[in-house]
């Protein structure tokens, strides 16, 4: 333990003198919220000016009011901006029972049917105002207003804002009149406006702190911990001090543990500074706590104490960062390795964005998903203590597991590789691995941002562009720019995995497809219990039926089986895999292939199936030393699932489908055959 503290002391001293470490651990998290809220304020100002020009619509039931007040309210609304006013009879809302029945009645009166998005009817309105007269005797003229709106609609929020302004003006006038007329009355209660959101409880929680704080906290943690981990592991190796450290008479695990504690302290400091900055922003009024859900029950000490549940997540994140950066040979390589760790954190955390996701015992043990859901529930005041305990215990368990592997990252066999004399070859291989990581990231982001946008604009054009232009271009670019040794000839076909395969591998790939499809069905059924598809998409595992059901089978097969089967494989199991093979171990290749293949499909619901498929296709391509068997498998698998789930092919009920596992046995045996030794280009 003394050694760990000696290492910790030296590491902290260095981090404290490192401007970049101070920036990422202290300055950035401290400035994040002030800058964010200032920017949001500016955007809001611009938005407000724009919104003031918008025509909004309001439905008014003001029958209970006197004529004067009715006209005054209506006139004030018109003066505040373009508005379409419609008088309605909202007796159904008024008479409905408090709670859900009344909310549904209000949605009906607004022209909003059901609770889904995009269901507003053509004659729907942005705001419903229902006025009533309450009180007896001297206060008989006290008016109450219910203002129903949908928080998700910009127009609705604008209409609400105008109506509140109009009511404030009337209230001021009424209060003044009463002050003059009545003695002893309370002029401040001239009006009693009550704003009521027609959104569901889940939607309301969407505006709450619990929905976005888990993200911010973890991203800030990544920022602080990542640099510290890079500095103490990858930075040390790059500076040439690690070899010296390893010949000191102390156990390597003590060195690794001391470094981990230093990273944790940097991460925890980031967290504390960031949360203090947030509290200060609320305290100084830079941000409206009500706008972040504080209005719903407030943000008492007990709720804020839930933030403590992020500590185990912080420990786990720091341990993962240390593991990732400890495996890096240079600072730059470490920066690349931080990326998948960040994804490992963000993807499970995204579960808090799903309103239907509940903190269960299963989710509690999922790294980062458990803490995110617990934090959300805690901030909303509904955290179950046993589940919170399970979240903490499981995250501490994951951290312990990660730490047991941490000493291994300082294993000199891995750190130093072979002797110190083969640096040119080592650098070439290292460059090859980095080439794969960089290009993989570029593929994922381009497909997600560019191809996704084009597909949303025009589906057919987008699919042509994605599969027949973008992906082939990437495959060629990755293969063309692959690092080569001096004098090494460029082998474009080889770099894309275009080698003639064994016929047995092609047949084997086809034979395992039915079993994979069965596995996909089983996985989908299990996933529906854990993470159900959103309403409207649950009828199919891929969610395709509702969207593309009317398209013909040929169109579906071409765009969802043949095209991705050929060109995704050319990029992932072709060019990227060739770059990865030069340096990486099998485990590392499978991990990165699964990760990128899952990410490029950009769906949390398809994350697990696509990751598994990506790893399987990689294993097939590696075994066959050719991309073609993986292509065949991908095309057949996609074809079976797409045509099956869109009702064009009923394979689940087919007799032959029962024998899928038996078909897989000879398929696997054929795939297990060694690849051809020849590497002629196809």
């Amino acid at each position: 333990m003394k050694t760990a503290f000696d290492v910790l002391g030296a590491e902290l001293l260095q981090l404290a003198r490192d401007r970049r470490a101070l920036f990422s651990a202290i300055l950035l998290p401290a400035l994040l919220y002030p800058l964010l809220f200032w920017g949001m304020g500016k955007l809001e100002d611009v938005g407000r000016e724009t919104m003031a020009e918008r025509t909004v619509s309001a439905r008014l039931d003001l029958a209970a009011l006197g004529e004067t007040m009715r006209d005054e309210f209506r006139g004030d609304l018109v003066e505040r901006g373009p508005i379409t006013i419609e008088d309605v009879d909202a007796t159904a809302v008024r008479d409905a029972e408090e709670g859900e029945p009344r909310r549904l009645a209000a949605r009906g009166a607004l022209g909003l049917e059901g609770d889904g998005e995009g269901e507003e009817t053509d004659d729907g309105a942005d705001l419903l105002v229902v006025a009533e007269i309450e009180g007896e005797g001297a206060d008989a003229q006290r008016a109450t207003f219910e203002l129903w709106y949908d928080v998700k609609s910009d127009d609705a929020r604008e209409a609400l804002s105008r109506a509140r302004g109009a009511l404030r003006d009337i209230e001021d006038r009424v209060a003044t009149e009463r002050r003059e007329r009545l003695l002893g009355g309370d002029p401040a209660t001239g009006l009693d406006p009550e704003v009521v959101d027609v959104a569901t409880a889940e939607d309301t929680s969407g505006a709450a702190l619990g929905k976005w704080l888990p993200f911010i906290v973890l991203l800030v943690l990544v920022s602080g911990a990542a640099y510290a981990a890079l500095a103490v592991f990858a930075g040390e190796r790059e500076a040439g001090t690690l070899e010296t450290l390893l010949v000191q008479p102390v156990p390597h695990r003590s060195i690794a543990f001391g470094k981990f504690i230093a990273v944790f302290i940097a991460g925890a400091a980031t967290l504390v500074v960031n949360l203090a900055s947030l509290a200060l922003c609320f305290g100084l009024g830079l941000a409206d706590v009500d706008a972040f859900g504080g209005a719903t029950g407030g943000l008492g000490l007990a709720r804020l104490a839930t933030l403590g549940i992020e500590l185990p997540a912080c420990l786990l994140l720091c341990a993962l960062m240390c593991l990732a950066c400890g495996g890096a040979r240079t600072f730059r390589e470490g920066q690349l390795l931080v990326f998948p760790v960040t994804l490992l954190v963000i993807v499970p955390t995204a579960i808090v964005l799903r309103p239907e996701a509940e903190l269960t015992a299963l989710w509690a043990v999922v790294p980062f998903a458990g803490t995110a859901l617990a934090l959300r529930d805690g901030l909303e005041g509904g955290l179950s203590l046993p589940l919170a305990a399970l979240v903490v215990a499981s995250h501490l368990g994951w951290t312990w597991l990660a730490l047991t592997r941490l000493a291994g990252v300082l294993d000199a066999e891995k750190v130093l590789g072979g002797g110190g004399d083969a640096k040119a070859e080592a650098h070439l291989r290292q460059a090859s691995g980095q080439h794969a990581v960089r290009w993989g990231f570029a593929v994922v982001m381009t497909v997600y941002l560019v191809a996704g946008s084009v597909q949303r604009w025009d589906l057919d054009a987008g699919l042509w562009f994605t599969f027949w232009i973008l992906l082939p271009a990437f495959a060629l670019a990755i293969a063309w720019t692959a690092p080569r040794a001096p004098g090494e000839k460029r082998d474009l076909a080889g770099a894309m995995g275009l080698r003639v395969p064994r016929i047995e591998h092609l047949v084997g790939a086809l034979l395992v497809v039915p079993a994979l499809a069965r596995g996909a069905e089983a996985l989908f059924e299990w996933q529906q219990k854990v993470l159900p598809l959103p309403p409207g998409a649950e009828s199919s595992g891929l969610g395709l039926e509702s969207v593309f059901g009317e398209r013909g089978p040929l169109w579906l097969f071409f765009f969802f089986a043949l095209s991705p089967g050929v060109f995704e494989e050319l990029v992932f199991r072709g060019s990227l895999l060739s770059a990865m093979r030069r340096d990486w171990t099998l485990r590392k290749i499978l991990f990165w292939q699964a990760l990128y293949f899952a990410l490029v499909h950009a769906s949390i619901y398809r994350l697990l199936p696509t990751a598994i498929l990506g790893a399987l296709l990689t294993a097939v391509a590696l075994r066959a030393r050719s991309v073609f068997p993986a292509m065949v498998l991908h095309i057949a698998y996609n074809g079976l699932l797409v045509l099956g789930t869109t009702g064009h092919l009923d394979f689940v009920e087919a007799d032959w489908f029962r024998y899928a596992p038996w078909l897989a046995v000879p398929g696997l045996l054929l795939l297990a055959r060694p690849a051809k030794e020849t590497t002629s280009g196809a």
């Binding site: 010296t244 008479p249 340096d583």
Partner: protein
């Protein structure tokens, strides 16, 4: 030179049949060292001479317990590297040409850090640091951050760090690589000074003049094997050549023909 001619108590470094293989994703199993024998006595300077890729660094890393031998055995000051690596590390000072310093620590902080890792505390630590400051003339720059030091100054801090615990054995891997003339001369002076202090010094180099000037005995390593070992005169006699460069070429030629 064989083990039989060296009194066991006099041997500070002993290696017998050292083998090291690596698993390489591209090349499969790579044999970096294929059965190296050597012995080095107290007060002796022993040079491992060989081209890049000969296996010198890997051999030194096995002797300093950084890498575990695949086969064979080695002992430092009588302690087996495989059985008690921590004790071995207490008895060696290790320095390589690529060794760096923590840029944001001062020279003094660096020495204190490594002194603590060697178990020195309080007065013993202070005394060791002061002694290093005196011996290596660090007073003028030892309290400045290492990132602001010149190459020669860094080299002196590195040497002081390697011997802060006064080890009986020094293992130096191409210690003059990347150094300018002045820093390189300082290093050579330091190595020579160790002989009179009774320290056993084993160092690797591919610079023939360094080996010729410093070494009591030279081991020629090539392709992971020890081709020959002995004094310069013994090697000359063995190969029938005068200059060390010719000795080396002759030994390599014989190995390639074998």
């Amino acid at each position: 030179m064989t083990e039989a001619t060296v009194p066991a108590t006099d041997v500070a470094i002993l290696a017998e049949g050292l083998v090291k293989t690596f698993q390489d994703p591209q090349r499969g199993t790579v044999e970096a060292v294929r059965g190296v024998d050597l012995d080095c006595r107290r007060g002796e300077i022993y040079g491992l001479l060989g081209p890049n890729g000969a296996g010198k660094t890997t051999t030194l890393r096995m002797l300093s317990t950084i890498l575990a031998p695949t086969a064979g055995r080695a002992a430092i000051d009588g302690v087996d590297v495989d059985e008690d690596p921590l004790e071995v590390r207490r008895r060696i000072g290790f320095l390589s040409g690529s060794t760096g310093l923590y840029p944001r620590l001062t020279g003094r902080e660096t020495l204190r850090y490594f002194g603590k890792l060697h178990g020195l505390e309080d007065d013993a630590l202070d005394a060791a640091v002061e002694r290093a400051f005196e011996t290596f003339g660090l007073h003028d720059f030892g309290d400045g951050r290492c990132e602001s030091l010149s190459t020669g100054q860094k080299q002196r801090v590195s040497i002081a760090r390697a011997v802060i615990h006064d080890p009986p054995v020094l293992i130096l891997d191409e210690p003059t690589t990347g150094l300018d003339i002045m820093a390189s001369s300082d290093m050579i002076d330091f190595i020579e000074s160790r002989r009179t202090a009774g320290t056993c010094v084993l160092f690797s180099t591919h610079i023939l003049s360094e080996a010729e000037r410093l070494c009591d005995r030279i081991g020629v390593v090539y392709g992971g094997r020890m081709l020959a070992a002995g004094t310069l005169d013994e090697l000359r006699a063995d190969t029938g050549t005068e200059w060390l460069e010719d000795v080396f070429r002759e030994l390599v030629r014989r190995a390639d023909e074998a």
